[in-house]
């Protein structure tokens, strides 16, 4: 797997990160063939990782794919033979405007949430590099707690906060602040404000991950480069924009990629809020919609496959870019 060691005379000098130098094209020395036994070694090391992936991920994926071309419901699960129906599940789903509504909502929800999470996360990470030790530790502990609390516990608290009858948010708005309209106001009954509440909760729970990864990456930015830039008269914003940001970009790309994946198939938060009394049909996102189809496994399988394709489309760009940087 490792690239062949570069001959010392062609090793590039340490590049100034401020200036993107063109890499001179150079002939790649022909790779010497190793005996097959030692070539096999690294691959053998992959086996322990590949087996669980194939069993845990590959099998369900293949099964889901096969199911999506069958008619497979509860009766089939209890022994009735499953019928092959070709693409019918897909055409049924994709010809339904409601499904496209769900897809559109999910993509919008995903992009808004991932964007907000990244923006708030990076801001907090930068803040953490600037503040004193006491403030930083407080921030870190707070973030860790927000991250470490089990999802359902967090959701219960949020649900209580936004409860229409006894919730503290409504009380705060209507009693001390005098906005009478918010007495008994239901936050989740309108899809728009439902998604607002969901966004607050999802962002709240995913920001800490972004903060910690970004903060760790920021610590890797060499202090001497920053100092040099400062001596050259670069402002704080310029130092961040042109020095730190390019250096931590790979980390940001991965964090962003993960956010997109997580937020596209968000389930728990939406499901719990729906159970709390939101109109179910109008608030479905992909995750909860697939779950609602679960009694008809074949249809749910087809929808999950569509969801996989959407995820790949959304993240393909990221992954390509990441792999390209890997090859530099």
């Amino acid at each position: 797997m490792a690239a062949p060691p570069l001959p010392p005379e062609t090793a590039a000098p340490p590049r100034d990160p401020l200036v993107a130098e063109p890499v001179p094209a150079r002939p790649v020395p022909p790779r010497r063939r190793l005996p097959w036994r030692s070539r096999l070694g690294p691959y053998a090391l992959l086996v322990p990782a590949l087996v669980p992936v194939a069993v845990g991920l590959g099998y369900p994926l293949a099964r889901q794919f096969v199911l999506s071309f069958q008619e497979y419901g509860l009766a089939q699960q209890f022994g009735r033979p499953a019928e092959w129906v070709g693409l019918r599940n897909y055409t049924d789903l994709l010809s339904d405007p409601y499904v496209w509504g769900v897809i559109g909502r999910s993509i919008a929800f995903c992009l808004v949430n991932a964007g907000l999470t990244m923006a708030i996360g990076v801001t907090l990470a930068v803040l953490m590099t600037r503040v004193g030790r006491g403030a930083r530790i407080t921030l870190q502990v707070g973030l860790l707690l927000a991250w470490g609390t089990p999802v359902l516990a967090t959701l219960t608290v949020w649900q209580w906060l936004f409860d229409s009858q006894y919730g503290v948010v409504n009380w705060l708005l209507s009693d001390p602040l005098g906005a009478e309209g918010f007495r008994g106001h239901s936050w989740i009954i309108e899809p728009a404000s439902f998604y607002l509440v969901a966004t607050v909760i999802v962002v709240w729970m995913s920001v800490p991950f972004v903060v910690f990864t970004t903060y760790a990456a920021l610590l890797q930015v060499p202090a001497e480069c920053v100092e040099a830039a400062q001596l050259d008269g670069a402002s704080a914003w310029q130092r961040f924009r042109h020095l730190s940001l390019p250096l931590i970009k790979p980390v940001l790309l991965i964090a962003g990629l993960l956010q997109v994946i997580w937020d596209l198939r968000v389930f728990t938060q939406i499901h719990v809020l729906q159970k709390a009394g939101a109109p179910t049909r109008e608030t479905h996102l992909l995750g909860t919609y697939v779950y609602s189809l679960s009694r008809e496994f074949s249809l749910a399988g087809a929808m999950a496959t569509v969801m996989l394709v959407i995820t790949l489309c959304l993240t393909g760009f990221y992954i390509r870019r990441m792999l390209r940087e890997e090859d530099l």
Binding site: P52, V53, G56, L57, G73, L74, A75, Q77, F78, G79, R80, D163, S164, Q165, R183, G184, S186, I188, I189, T213, A217, Q220, L247, P250, V251, I254, L257, L258, I261, W262, Q274, K275, A276, G277, A278, P279, T280, R281, E282, S292, S294, R295, M322, E325, E326
Partner: protein, 441 residues
Amino acid sequence: MRRVRTGGLAAAAVASLLAVSACGGGEAAEASSDTEVRLWLNGTDTPQELRDYLKETFEADHEGMTLVIEEQDWSGLVPRLQTALSSEDQTPDLVEIGNTQSPTFTYAGAFTELTDVYEDLGGDDLLPGFVDAGTADGTLYAVPYYSGARAVFYRKDLFQQAGVAVPTTLEEFRTAAIALQQANPSPDFSGFWFPGQDWYNGVAWVFSNGGDLAVQEGDRWVGALSSPESQEALAEVQDLFTNATRAPRDADSNEPWVAFNNGQAAMFSAPTWARSSIALPECDKGVDPDDTSPEAEALLAEQQACNEEITGVFPLPGEQPGSSAPVFAGGSNIAIPTMSQRQEEARDLLRIIFSEEYQTMLAENGLIPGNSQYADALGDDVYAQAALAAARNAKLTPAAEQWADVEGARILEDFFQQVASGADVAQAAAEADRLMEETLN
């Protein structure tokens, strides 16, 4: 930076793996040993005393076998049954299932035929609506376990203050609820606690008016919320939502006694066993729930008496004076999964459940037993009377194969919420009918 990148990629891979495996967690397969019979009961409706009785009686009859009773949560029950019942290793040997969920599984072939023991278990004395829910294509697969009818609980003192009498018709009920709310202008007060998603109670008006949720025409199910009868009833329901309640539109029928206990509602409707959940602040003796001394128990009894002094109960009245409305019957069926390897033992257990002793115990605990012959043991206090009156006229949801899907998709919760939010009833009903037809056919 290369190290950071590959590290990140690995992290991404690991994280997604973890996320995927987290979804699959949950039920660990329980190895059922050779001498074990497993019974699944849902929620806490079956009291401990009854569970002990089952265990003792069954184990006395079956030397060397143990009965394991596992309590399942009502919410999420259908997907859990879906996985458990189709696996020989995981299936319980006898299972309780909500009456409205029953058809989905009977049609799928999940249960063993019970026609041969029908007479043994009680024959025509078994609650008929529940037997229908347990029958698929003329074959019996599930039998009624118990039923809990709904009745209306009310505050006697608030009725007096508002000068309202116990209503004897559905029309009077509505005017009483509105009058009660007007008599108590607090912005949190409801004349009748009627949250927006509470279709369990709302449907009583539809049934009472001669309407229905869905009806079978030939081999097709047709949504019936748009019928003139249903529409008339739904207009009354909307009036109640608008003028007789300040319950949140985003709440459902769970724990309706909370507002009542807070003095924020004059009436609520719930299964009659809700009497034990009533705890008015006026009566609170501040007993530590863990305290089991005789003094504490005396105080608790006093507290309960005080609660029942202030609280009254009546069956929801029907169209005619003196009649009771066809309320929605909650309750459950019980069945033997096809995959169970203990068919004989499960049948024996079923016979114990339908024995006179056990049925009587169910009734003594305020549940209407599956065999109506033993309903007398409910007693003759006001609660038992209200329960019986309500149960006699109770009605079930349509016995359609896919009915559980309608509930799973929460079509009726959404619909009643729209009615509560002041939507155009005809339009909302047309849409709900369309969704129900799509699901049922």
